[in-house]
Symmetry: C2
Subunit: 515 residues, 2 copies
């Protein structure tokens, strides 16, 4: 099995069907396939060899879609660069996996000089935007026009499809190696488990296409004969416009996007009833947001996928029907048809239902490893299972409730405290704008529950008041014993709170700080 | 991926759900899993080793279902014996792949002495029926009671799942080697392509479970959380009774069964509206039968699967919607999501749409080869494609129309004639009961179209009258130049006409006769 097989099948069965819509630009299946074969020819002519990494740093577009097919067509490996990263992080990943050819669009062309400096291996930069081609870059349309189509290399099976960088919150990003089989197992297994997307529908790409979640849904769309409706990036107005104009039937969004969409003035006035199915991931959706979103999207079935880049990315699925149960709606759902899921203790023994442990995953969708990191690979994949680092428990019917990152768990006086639970309690206080809970050294308890809190501007509250507020919500031993008030929390490029920065102040010179 | 993964998932998610219904006997998921683990323990205790073949010669039952799981659980390979074969054919397959352990039920226990004689390797026979255990056999229930459950060996991926014998019409049967990955690719790919069966439905097994088609649908049922409703063998009354009693939602049948069911007095009076989805294969359905069946099963979506044992078994799928088009309804549908399909000439070059050639198939579902037959394996899998031996053409939208077995094609005066086309024309004549068309040697034409005809009792017709009748239906060069009238046609144990027997009389001492 190989990713481009779906394109060959579409050419055989429906060459005149619309495959991509991007603004006013549309491409049929046959047009898209022709461009892919020519762009693959250009990559070969540029010296790209079997297994080479080819990068892209761009907003969503139809050319991004073509890139996802042309690179394996040329027998190479995609490196989809996180558009939210700093230039240093981007350069790190280009050097780390030896990406010598990079595509950039109008938005990221300006970063190229800095990238060239930090990543001297960057030999060829191809501009795939619509503006003027900057000096020193090739133009992707020129390349397509100038090259003959080549035969598909049919890279597939255990061959690498891509190196997907992840883990910006825990030190240097790691390159997750996902094969064609991993990608297709996750996509086919998800479709075998439930009708995640419509067959032959119009599938919206508003979530960033560099992320494996959107790539997975894109593959599902390729398998089911979807038309890809692509917008450069998420905005409520852009999404509403695309839905109305192109009669979008399916979409992948993250909960924050769902919230922004449901609460937007554009959506308030629009008829969004064409949208039949919506997949979301990255985190469970809050009950309040889900209710508002379901009122606005009354015709839409919600599916949650839980997983991570390392499992390409679907481990469990929460079906539309499960969303009717408010308890289950807080879970990540149950193991998908292709995915084995267990909860284990520190010795990898399965724990009883209801007991929190680490979520581990096994199956053909699991990564081959981290690029050039044999030790971290061996640790993550020990015993043949992907150790997600997520803490969670499983109920009697197999529903997985994610409670925290294992490394964010605090052990205080022998009791396990999940920081997420404490953070959720604190976040309900009316003057708490943002908070992070960590364990800090304590002579009596080993670790002590400590909260770092950002208040809404101008507000004040005492630690004792916060503790009293939490007392109704969580057990006594989980209450924050100490609180610091700060102006802002340190966050990563992807917007995740960097707890390691907070811990550093308390755990200087110890291993705990570098978690 | 491994077949029993679906059982582990069911145990994790719904241990108390009904998994099998066989007459008055029902088993939950947990009960079935417990019995599987104990029976696997018994097999290990009997000396079954990794990769050994374990056979079963039995009608359908819940114990057949358990066998399909327990054998890989014990790290062994299933050999599902064709119940329609002669004792010599059964013995041949047991010897050919070295099956030393065989299960038999009440229906086939009497065959064991003859099998032991012809297959001296048959060391252990296990009785899995409900009557008295014959002398010299073990009893499957005793074995389950006497043995502790063992851990699943987790045989999977490229490990062999089964050796499936096929090809009784063309000499000795050949053992098709199908891995776990082949079986799961076909099942998951079919579910990814269309809603072949309901999720969580009641799935009827009336087609024989030894056939890979029913095994494939059984795996789909395991993946989708179906309850398996099992009847020993197809009868219209038995099927109607099972549908009514157990509210069957899904079924696999062959066209003959559909016809018998639709035309039966039992069905005429019964409410069969619970049946939502019906899969059929082996041959396209005639328009008249389809119309009658759709009238009777007005609530049922029909899906056709085309393929063969060597592709585990699904290559193409004809969707329910396709059945509304009378032209498409005569096709085998289009390539499924997991399956590449092409039509090629004798040199394996793809032919233009509409031109007849050989249907070839590629993908992870294709067999590993024929057991102990490296030359036939290399021929069938040349260039990495499974050469089906079926002649057919593809239309502009990728629909595959199967016209004949390639080897049944007649080349007369440089023109290709497909025997099926001539047979269809002849079969419409009111006094023709049965017919077979073959090529015979001819000094002028190389081969001559020759018809062998069985008339309805007491009728007569001249060759010239038959030719005149066909003249309106087929081109002149396709008309049967000669006709012989016989009392009966030679048929195989599976009911297929043995054209090689007919050819022998004309092609003595030439290669053509042994096709």
């Amino acid at each position: 099995m190989y990713v481009a097989q779906s394109l060959h099948r579409a050419v055989q069965q429906s060459p005149d069907r619309l495959l991509t819509i991007f603004g006013d630009r549309t491409r049929t299946v046959a047009e898209s396939a022709g461009r892919v074969a020519r762009f693959a020819g250009a990559l070969r002519a540029l010296g790209v060899q079997r297994g080479d990494r080819v990068g892209i740093l761009a907003l969503n577009s139809d050319r991004y879609h073509e890139f996802l097919l042309a690179v394996p067509w040329a027998d190479a490996v995609v490196n989809l660069v996180n558009i939210r990263w700093s230039r240093s992080e981007v350069a790190y990943s280009l050097v780390d996996c030896g990406t010598n050819v990079l595509l950039v669009d109008d938005m990221f062309a300006a970063a190229v000089p800095a990238l060239r400096e930090k990543a001297p291996n960057l030999a060829t930069v191809i501009f795939c935007g619509d503006g003027e081609t900057p000096d020193g870059m090739l133009n992707s349309e020129d390349l397509i026009a100038a090259h003959e189509p080549v035969e598909d290399a049919r890279r597939g099976g255990d061959d690498l499809y891509g190196v997907f960088y992840t883990g910006g919150t825990t030190g240097h990003p790691k390159g997750v190696m996902l094969s064609h089989r991993s990608m297709l197992t996750s996509a086919m297994g998800t479709l075998a488990t439930l009708d995640a997307i419509s067959r032959g529908g119009n599938l919206l790409h508003a979530a960033p296409m560099f992320h494996v979640a959107d790539v997975a849904v894109w593959i599902m769309g390729m398998l089911t004969g979807s038309t890809h409706v692509i917008v450069p990036a998420f905005t409520p107005a852009g999404v509403v416009n695309a839905i109305l104009r192109h009669r979008v039937t399916d979409a992948l969004l993250v909960p924050t996007m769902i919230q922004l969409l449901a609460d937007s003035p554009e959506a308030a006035e629009a008829d969004l009833t064409t949208v039949r199915r919506l997949i979301y991931g990255a985190s469970p959706i809050s009950e309040a947001v889900l209710q508002r979103a379901r009122r606005k999207l009354a015709n839409t079935a919600f599916t949650q996928a839980y997983g991570m880049t390392e499992v390409a990315p679907v481990a469990t699925l929460l079906t539309p029907a499960d969303h009717d149960d408010p308890v289950l709606a807080r879970s990540g759902g149950r193991a998908a048809a292709h995915s084995e899921v267990r909860i284990v203790d520190a010795e990898d023994n399965e724990v009883p239902r209801g007991v929190v442990g680490e979520i581990i995953v096994r199956g053909d969708h699991v990564m081959q490893g981290y690029w050039n990191r044999p030790e971290e690979t061996a640790a993550a994949l020990r015993g043949g299972w992907m150790h997600t680092g997520d803490g969670g428990y499983m109920d009697e019917r197999g529903y997985v409730f994610v409670v925290d990152r294992i490394k964010d768990m605090i052990i205080t006086g022998g009791e396990n405290v999940y920081s997420a639970e404490v953070e959720n309690a604190l976040a309900n206080h009316p003057v708490v704008q943002q908070c992070a809970v960590i364990g800090v050294p304590d002579d009596n308890w080993g670790e002590r529950v400590h909260a770092v809190v950002v208040l809404i501007p101008g507000a004040t509250v005492s630690p004792e008041e916060l503790r009293d507020f939490c007392r109704d919500r969580i057990a006594n031993y989980k209450l924050p014993r100490s609180v610091s008030f700060v102006e802002a929390l340190p966050v990563s490029g992807a917007g995740k709170i960097l707890k390691r920065e907070l811990r550093k102040q308390h755990w200087a010179d110890t291993d705990r700080a570098v978690h």
